[in-house]
Symmetry: none
C-alpha cells in the first residue's frame, strides 16, 4: 500500500539540550509522550539539520527547507513572509516589512515599543491606508494590521531595494532612527526614502486618530508611531502544487508560518481558539488537520507553545506543555493510511533561550516505511533510528518518494 | 594488510520496502542469506542513497554514481550507454539511441513494438549497415543488433543535438511518429532529420529482407521498422584507469550496465549462460568474477534478477531469488584479501513495481575495514551499521582509501 496523503506536523522549537532542572534530560525526553512514542515505534526515526549542521535556523528558513524550498535559494528575509501571513498578497519584487505599533512621547522618544501591547488596531490600519498621500510617498503600498501590536507593510513599485536599516531603536527612551540604505544602490536609497516618508505620514495620521485620543484619555499609551523592520524583497517561489503535484493547506497560529505556507500556495486554514501559545486549543487544531486531509493531499500543521517555553528558559513548563501536545495528538494515531512526518523546525534550548543548531528529532510513519527499532520520540532516541541524519531539504523528496510522486532520474 | 583488489557486487534492485505477503518484512529481510549475512558480519555496513536522499535513481545514474562518476556531472541520457553496451564504441559528441525492431502493417500501423520478440537480428543489422545510402543520410552512423528485438544506433558527425523526440508511438495500432527537434537549436533539427531519413531507409531495407520474407511465410511478424528512443549525446568520461589507477572489468548481462562499464573503460567480460533474469547462470558469473580478480584490480559485477521480481511486484519470488543469489555467492567468502563491496543500485519495491529512492543496504568487507556489530544483510539491519548513511558517490573514494589509492588533500 502507498499513502496518498501527507501530514507534516512541526512541533515548533520542541527540541532542546539537557536541562539542569530536568536531571539532565531534555524536556522532550523528560515528558511522558505515549502518542509520539507510538508514532516513533511505528515509523522510521532520525535526526535532522533543518538547514545544515551547525547552522542556527530561524523558523522561516527552517520551514522553507522542510517544504523543499532551501532557504539558500529561496529566502529573502522575514518581512515578505510576515506580510503575506498578515494578509498582504506579496508578488515578486514587492518589499515586505514587519511593523509594530509603538508609542512616542512629546519629546520624540519611544516610550513603548509595543504601544502597551495594544490590540484591535484595524481602525488605525484603515486610517493609514486611506490617509497616506501617495503622490508624496511616490509609490504604492499595502498595510495590514496583525495580531496585537503587530502589522505589516509592503512597498510596491519598480526599482526598490531591500537593503535598508530599521527605524526601531530596539530600546525604550531612545529616538526612532532614520531608515538608511545599507548599500550605494539607488534602489535601496529609494526604499529608505519611501520608508521614512511613510513613517512620517503614518505618524501624523495616528497622532490625531480618535482611537489614540481615547487611549490617552484612558491613560493608555497611544499607538502613534510605526516601527518597521525585516525588509525583504519578495522572490519567485514555484507553487507547491506545481512543484509536487499536491494540493495543500497550512494550519498555524503564527503569521510567519502561515505566511510561508501562503507564499508557496498552501491554503491557510484558521482555527478559532488557537493562539500560538501554551493556551492554544490544540484539539481544535488537530481536528482541523484531520478534516483538511480529507480535502487536500498535504497539510502542514505547526504547534508553537513549546518554542515559547524554550525562549523563556522554562524547562519544566516546556516538558509539561509537551505532554499537553502529546495528548492532543492522539487522534492522529488512527490515520493509518496517511504518511505522518513529525519533527521540530529547530531546537530552542532552555539554556540558550533562543534557537540553536542542534539537530531535531524526526519520524516518518505510514505505509511503506522501513520501521526501525526506535520506540521513543526524543533527541537521543531518534538519533539511533533508520533515517540517520538528514537535512531539512531532504524531507520533502523523501516524502514524495514514499507517496510515489518522485521523478526518476535516469532510466 | 591492505587489499589490492576490489569487487563491487551490485545486486540490482534487491532493496525493497516491507511487503504484505512477507509479514511486513522486505524480501531481503525475509530471505535466508547465510553468505550475505556472513559478509555483513565480517564487514562494515550502512545504508546508501545512490544519488541523494529522496532522489529516485535509474540503473544508469546509480551505477555512474557508484563508479564515482556523479550523474549530475556525467549523465547524458540512456541512449549512449545502451549503444556502448550493444557494441558501438561511443566517442564524445556521438548521439546514441536505443532501438527496437518492430512490425508495421500495410496500412503503416505499428502492430508489434517488438516484432514478435524476434531474435537473431544480426543479418538485419548487417543489411542496414551495408544498405543505408550515406549521401542521402548526410552523416555517418553505427548500428548494432542487440539481444532479442533490441538494437542500438549512433549518429556520428559535427553539430548534432540530442534534444529530439522518439518515433515510438508507445502503443500498438498507431502510426509511428515523426521524430522532431525539442528545441530551436539547428543541431537538434539536424539530428531529427537524420533520424527520420535513417528510419525511412532502414525500413525499406528491412521490408524486402529474406529473413522477413521467411518470417511472413511462417506467419511471424516481420521486423520491418526501427523504433528509436533515448537520444543522448556522448560526453567525455575520464577513463577509470586514469581516474583511479586501477584496471577493471565489468560483468553484467544487462547492456545498459556493461555499457556504463565500457564507457568508463572497464573491459566487458561476457559470461555464457547469463541472462539478466532469474534463470541466469550465477555460478558461472561468480566464477568469472573471481577469475577476473586474478587479472584485474577492480571488478564490477551486476546481478539483475531481483530487480525484475520487484518490477513484477512479486515479493515471494524476489525473496526466493535472493536465496538463489546468496547460494551462488558462497565462493566469494574465500576472497579474504579482496575488498568486497556489496550493495544495490536502487530499491525496487514490490509495492511500487519500479525504482524508489529508499536507501539501499551496503557492506564493505575485507582487510582494514572497521567491523561493526551488524551481522545481517538487510535494509533495517544495515541501517544500524558503522558506515551510517552515505551516498553512491562516496563509495569509490571510501574504497580507494581502503586500498591505499586515495590522494592526500592537504599536508
Amino acid at each position: 500500500m502507498i499513502a496518498e496523503k501527507v501530514l507534516f506536523l512541526v512541533l515548533d522549537g520542541i527540541s532542546d539540550r539537557p536541562c539542569e532542572d530536568l536531571d539532565g534530560l531534555t524536556p522532550l525526553a523528560a515528558a511522558r509522550t505515549p502518542v509520539l512514542d507510538r508514532i516513533a515505534a511505528e515509523g522510521v526515526c532520525g535526526i535532522m539539520d533543518s538547514v545544515a549542521p551547525g547552522i542556527r535556523p530561524g523558523s522561516d528558513t527552517s520551514h522553507l527547507a522542510l517544504l523543499g524550498y532551501p532557504p539558500q535559494e529561496f529566502y529573502t528575509g522575514r518581512g515578505p513572509l510576515e506580510a503575506e501571513g498578515t494578509g498582504i498578497h506579496m508578488t515578486a519584487g514587492m518589499i515586505g516589512f514587519r511593523c509594530n505599533f509603538a508609542t512616542v512621547d512629546a519629546d520624540g522618544l519611544v516610550t513603548d515599543r509595543r504601544a502597551g501591547r495594544i490590540s484591535g488596531t484595524e481602525p488605525l490600519a484603515e486610517a493609514i491606508r486611506d490617509g497616506v498621500d501617495l503622490s508624496a510617498l511616490g509609490i504604492e503600498f499595502r498595510f495590514e494590521a496583525g495580531a496585537g501590536h503587530r502589522a505589516a507593510l509592503a512597498l510596491v513599485g519598480e526599482g526598490l531595494g531591500d537593503k535598508v536599516s530599521s527605524n526601531d531603536p530596539k530600546k525604550e527612551g531612545a529616538r526612532p532612527l532614520t531608515i538608511r540604505p545599507c548599500t550605494d544602490d539607488p534602489a535601496d536609497a529609494e526604499t529608505a526614502r519611501a520608508c521614512n516618508e511613510f513613517i512620517r505620514q503614518s505618524g501624523e495620521i495616528l497622532y490625531g486618530h480618535p482611537l489614540n485620543v481615547r487611549r490617552m484619555e484612558e491613560g493608555l499609551p497611544p499607538a502613534n508611531l510605526l516601527l518597521i523592520r525585516g525588509a525583504g524583497k519578495m522572490g519567485e517561489l514555484p507553487p507547491f502544487s506545481e512543484r509536487y503535484g499536491l494540493s495543500g493547506s497550512v494550519i498555524s497560529a503564527a503569521t510567519l508560518i502561515s505566511g510561508i505556507g501562503k507564499v508557496v500556495g498552501l491554503e491557510h486554514v484558521p482555527v478559532p481558539g488557537t493562539t500560538g501559545s501554551v493556551d492554544s486549543d490544540l484539539d481544535a487544531k488537530v481536528r482541523t488537520a484531520i478534516e483538511e486531509l480529507g480535502r487536500k493531499d498535504f497539510v502542514l500543521m505547526n504547534i508553537k507553545g513549546a518554542d515559547e517555553a524554550g525562549h523563556d528558559g522554562k524547562g519544566i513548563q516546556k516538558r509539561d506543555f509537551i505532554e499537553v501536545i502529546d495528548t492532543a495528538l492522539a487522534p492522529l494515531l488512527d490515520l493509518k493510511e496517511t504518511l505522518i512526518v513529525v519533527c521540530a523546525d529547530h531546537s530552542t534550548p532552555c539554556s540558550v533561550k533562543d534557537h540553536s543548531a542542534d539537530p531535531v528529532p524526526v519520524v516518518i510513519r505510514g505505509p511503506g516505511v522501513r520501521v526501525d527499532r526506535t520506540n521513543r520520540f526524543d533527541e537521543v532516541s531518534c538519533a539511533e533510528g533508520g533515517l540517520h541524519r538528514i537535512r531539512g531539504r531532504d524531507l520533502m523528496p523523501i516524502t514524495l518518494d514514499l507517496i510515489n510522486k518522485s521523478h526518476k532520474y535516469g532510466a
